[in-house]
């Protein structure tokens, strides 16, 4: 069965520090991978998606970047965090023939 792992679950980082959130998928190959952010009281905002290794598409300009070094690994990064980067970050995957997306448990990031 397919599973998705996202870590850490919570993170408190100072302004200006770097960020690295990791997401890995098991039990499937060549998935579409997504990074979302849910700010307080708001819906899901798509940040990045990837349809293959090394292929990253950004949906909104921001202080963040994403990378896909392996087929089932998706990393969200920042060189210098801003206060506005605080939020709940979600990784998700979809199979090529699937319609449903499956989400990780999320990372609560607080920038202080």
């Amino acid at each position: 069965s397919q599973t998705i792992h996202q870590w850490p679950a919570t993170l408190v980082q100072p302004v200006g520090s770097p960020l690295s959130l990791e997401c890995t998928v098991e039990g499937t190959s060549n998935p579409n991978l997504y990074w979302y952010r849910q700010a307080a009281g708001r819906g899901l905002q798509l940040l990045f998606y990837s349809v293959g290794i090394g292929q990253i598409s950004s949906e909104v300009p921001q202080n963040l970047s994403a990378s896909r070094p392996q087929d089932r690994q998706f990393i969200l990064s920042s060189k210098k965090l801003l206060l506005s980067d605080s939020g709940f970050y979600l990784c998700a995957w979809r199979g090529r023939l699937n319609t449903e997306a499956f989400f990780g448990q999320g990372t609560r990031l607080t920038v202080v």
């Binding site: 579409n32 997504y34 979809r94 319609t99």
Partner: protein, 112 residues
């Protein structure tokens, strides 16, 4: 431009009654719709979906209705239970298969 809209930020329903969550969309190219449920500090979980070739799909207490002419879908939960209290997201598969277009979510509160 919001292509998927959930106009009610919150909804309060008595336990045992029917909960009806609404979703409107603007793009007639959408061909698949999904509902997700999300608890605080967790990733969304898939609930139920419907293809654009159908007008109804039922799974236990959950039924989704699709009105293509009105570009409207709704999720019915009968009977509503306390554990149904969560944020519900409507999503649509975009013209390109990698796209998942999300509504802003509706917070459902089930009152005992």
């Amino acid at each position: 431009d919001q292509q998927v809209k959930q106009n009610s930020p919150s909804l309060s329903v008595q336990e045992g009654r029917i909960s009806i969550l609404n979703c409107d969309y603007t793009n007639s190219m959408f061909d698949y719709f999904l509902w997700y449920k999300k608890y605080p500090a967790e990733g969304p979980t898939f609930l139920i979906s419907i293809s654009s070739i159908k007008d109804k799909n039922e799974d236990g207490r959950f039924t989704v209705f699709l009105n293509k002419s009105a570009k409207h879908l709704s999720l019915h939960i009968v009977p509503s239970q306390p554990g149904d209290s969560a944020v519900y997201f409507c999503a649509a598969i975009g013209p390109f298969n990698y796209q998942l277009i999300w509504g802003a979510g509706t917070k459902l509160i089930i009152k005992p």
